[in-house]
Point group: C2
Chain length 277, copies 2
């Protein structure tokens, strides 16, 4: 695992807040409210995010223009790499061209034929991390083993084409507990099985989906991140401004004996990144 | 498992706050500050504790008198059963005689010969839950398998003498991460192995010990409780007034698919027991 890239932290945090499906972000993108976007980028950076996700997908007509504007505003205030968040080849291609700092993450590819065929060359040719969702033409499987099968297909196809396995992120696909109370365990089983077969691939998930439809979502997310880390999760799209969540991430790294002498935990505490309450 | 006793919750919460090793409690016991003790008992009850722990062990000379006073004050304001917390047979014997509501928990026995011999008859003869620590004459083992071996001895001896297995709680013994960063995993391995061999025994731990010597202890405790629940923990001594902790416990029950339709989580939310932030 490319520990150095993640600054010695075990868990990769992708700040999820600059996403146009969120009402305030959509408005800020519409009104070109640069301060709002810049501030949110800076706050996520300072809170410890390793990547800043940028998504303008809610704009069907002018996603490219909005994505370009947002990426430029974000990159004006942070030197963190971005997760370029779109299902569309044209947006990803433009995003890769605009990307400035470090190695970007493409968020995301799936095994749905059209999306796969469109994005595959970009993923292989660029020096990028790729986040790949366990979805194929039949949709999202309900069962862990079928998700694992899709992941294996993605990893095999990408590595055969020359993509280094350590640049491949697999999203086990966090589906909401409010839809099916078995989905938490489906996700952890998927993580465990993929990690066993491909220890060098990165398991990364859009974690906050777990609590969709439930009240006090933060509490569910906080519990779920520890659960997923027990089974081998390497990273997550989360709200890094939830300081309790970030503290729990660092505490879990220590509890899993991945943080010698609790060094990262204590360092983050001294830097004011661990919440006292 | 005696789910009904725990009011349909999966995780047993033992409110740990009325413990004379805490400075304010010791003072309140010295000064017979009934309001302070009663208030803390009531608050823990209302926050969802299933048992209220009462410990007067810091008083070497007059533990019995202080324990009696504290138990009476606590039982004046709550109908929850108590965890009678002492290593001494005389204190436990008195406590069992004073106990009013439901089935008490004896906290705790060990396999150290003197303590074992003194407490064993009381444990077997009383209608009580017994919390048993994985310690023998050689102290606390560093290795999970040796802790498991002690637990097996405890369970076998108690069940042979007629103690129902579902009344036996085993504490894997949470030792501080600040002493050894492998202790988190030693505890989870111990839980997993005992649970596999004795699924009907209750795995219960003094969880807050994990964070002894670290800053922002709550964050470590919150992460650790989810970790332990993944491996089968049934209960813990914790601070039930940490609302985020209690919320994480209920969220973890749901995530482990032990709370059909997230019913308990939603009910606790409606009752104001789940923290919004």
């Amino acid at each position: 695992m490319e520990i150095i890239h993640w600054k010695g932290k075990i868990m990769i945090v992708i700040g999820e807040l600059i996403n146009s499906t969120r009402k305030k972000i959509k408005e800020a993108m519409e009104n070109k409210d640069a301060d709002y976007i810049r501030n949110l980028a800076k706050q996520q950076d300072e809170a410890g995010a390793d990547f800043i996700d940028v998504n303008a997908g809610a704009f069907i007509e002018d996603e490219l223009e909005k994505l370009k504007w947002a990426m430029e505003e974000v990159q004006a205030v942070t030197s963190k790499p971005l997760a370029i968040d779109s299902p569309r080849g044209k947006a990803i291609e433009m995003g890769l061209g605009l990307h400035k700092n470090g190695k970007p993450m493409i968020n995301s590819i799936t095994k749905e034929s059209e999306r796969w065929d469109e994005l595959f060359p970009l993923v292989v040719e660029s020096d990028s991390f790729i986040l790949s969702l366990c979805i194929d033409n039949n949709g999202i499987p309900d069962i862990a083993d079928e998700r694992v099968k899709i992941a294996e297909g993605i990893i095999n196809d990408l590595t055969k084409a020359g993509k280094p396995i350590e640049d491949i992120g697999i999203d086990p696909l966090t589906t909401p507990l409010s839809v099916n109370t078995n989905y938490g365990l489906v996700v952890t089983e998927t993580i465990e099985k993929i990690k066993k077969n491909f220890p060098e691939a990165k398991l990364i998930t859009g974690l906050s989906n777990i609590s969709y439809g439930l009240p006090a979502r933060r509490q569910v997310n906080r519990a779920f991140i520890t659960m997923c880390m027990v089974y081998g999760l390497d990273g997550a799209l989360i709200d890094p401004l939830d300081r309790v969540m970030m503290s729990i991430v660092r505490a879990t790294e220590a509890l899993l004996n991945k943080d010698p002498f609790c060094g990262n935990y204590l360092k983050d505490y001294r830097q004011g990144l661990i919440a006292k309450e």
